[in-house]
Amino acid sequence: MTIGTGRSDNLAELLRASGEVLTRRWVELAAEPLRGRLSVAELERELADLYAAILAGLDTGDRDPNSDAFAEVRALLSEMSRRRARAGFTPSETAVGVFTLKRAMFELLDQAEIAGGLAEVVAFSLLLDAFGLWTFETFAKAREEVIDEQAEQLLELTTPVVKLWDGVLAVPLVGTLDSARTQVVMEKLLESLVTTGAAHAIIDITGVLAVDTQVAQHLLKTVMAARLMGAECTISGIRPHIAQTIVGLGIEFGDITTKASLADALRHALRRAGVDLVAGDRRG
């Protein structure tokens, strides 16, 4: 490459003049590590948008990656990283979308003379490095979100019916409940009532994020079904914000026994079962 000592905005000019060649090569380089997991058409669209935004930024003469001039670039990169994170790409496979532009540019510089001088090339190169790091950062954040969501969904899947005491079953409900899962849990509880012959069941909703009409309806139906089977059902762990929301919705739990905590509900069940609970005097 031939490095001159002229004016400093010639890089933007060169990038604009060679836009087509450069982006074609860029797409080629960026597509390679993705090995067909992303369509070339999609990649072309992404990178063309990015290229236009970078050019617009360079045109302002600004070279600070955190300046307003590059706000659009950062926004596009954030979106791209989020999409990649959700689609299961690795951080390297995501950042390669930025770093390959650098390689494409160097290849181009090999053949062209740049009047802007070394300083301009270095500045642009540093800019791209900063953008690459930006994709890493946003990628990491998006990954965290995905992991949180998955953890939450996993919790919903694992809802066991446990025997707390002779004749007392409990099922803790956790997470955000959709219709299918709530129904599975409720059916499991009713089945367990049959197989164990328990006379008391406690549904603990301490871990539930929200009770809407659908969850409420499942709860009410389960309590009624348990009654028909001769068992009493208590709902425990209705936290204050959930209680206020239930009231706001207009749901009435009627004559169903509700208790603040699982411990209260167990005490209630045991009393009903005729078990005497004696306050634990410390023996001398």
Binding site: L209, A210, L249
Partner: protein
């Protein structure tokens, strides 16, 4: 980065209702709504999303961050091109359902939020928009 200011989510299955709840909750947290208000908004959107799915035959939701002076809020809107609601007053009556629900979703959602608009036309579809502001 503070996160996105707007999200479009299709409503085509039960899972989408769960996803909408999660998105709305994270927006409500970012808008600094209290725990009670977060729960109210999440519950209201859960109702509306399910109505879109059950009665509207599916559609889409838009969740948006609102800023107005020092107040922050979240707007969620649910649109379908289903059959529409022929009698709005009846639909908003506590306990009335055309299906097998409790008939509390629509009327209850209205009580849980700060702003509620219902736009419906028979044969064209239904759009319900709700807003909850931080205090």
């Amino acid at each position: 980065m503070t996160g996105p200011g707007r999200e479009d989510i299709p409503i085509a299955a039960d899972d989408d209702v769960v996803r909408i709840r999660q998105v709305v909750r994270s927006y409500a947290q970012r808008a600094r709504l209290s725990l009670v208000d977060q729960t109210k908004l999440v519950t209201a959107t859960s109702e509306l999303a399910r109505n879109t799915l059950t009665y509207g035959g599916g559609g889409s939701a838009v969740v948006e961050m609102l800023g107005e002076g020092r107040r922050q809020g979240v707007r969620a809107s649910f649109a379908d091109s289903g059959p529409g609601i022929p009698d709005i007053e009846l639909a908003l009556t506590d306990g009335w359902t055309s299906g097998r629900g409790m008939g509390l979703g629509l009327s209850g959602a209205r009580r849980l939020v700060d702003e509620f608009t219902l736009d419906t036309e028979v044969g064209r579809g239904t759009t319900v928009t709700v807003v909850k502001w931080s205090r």
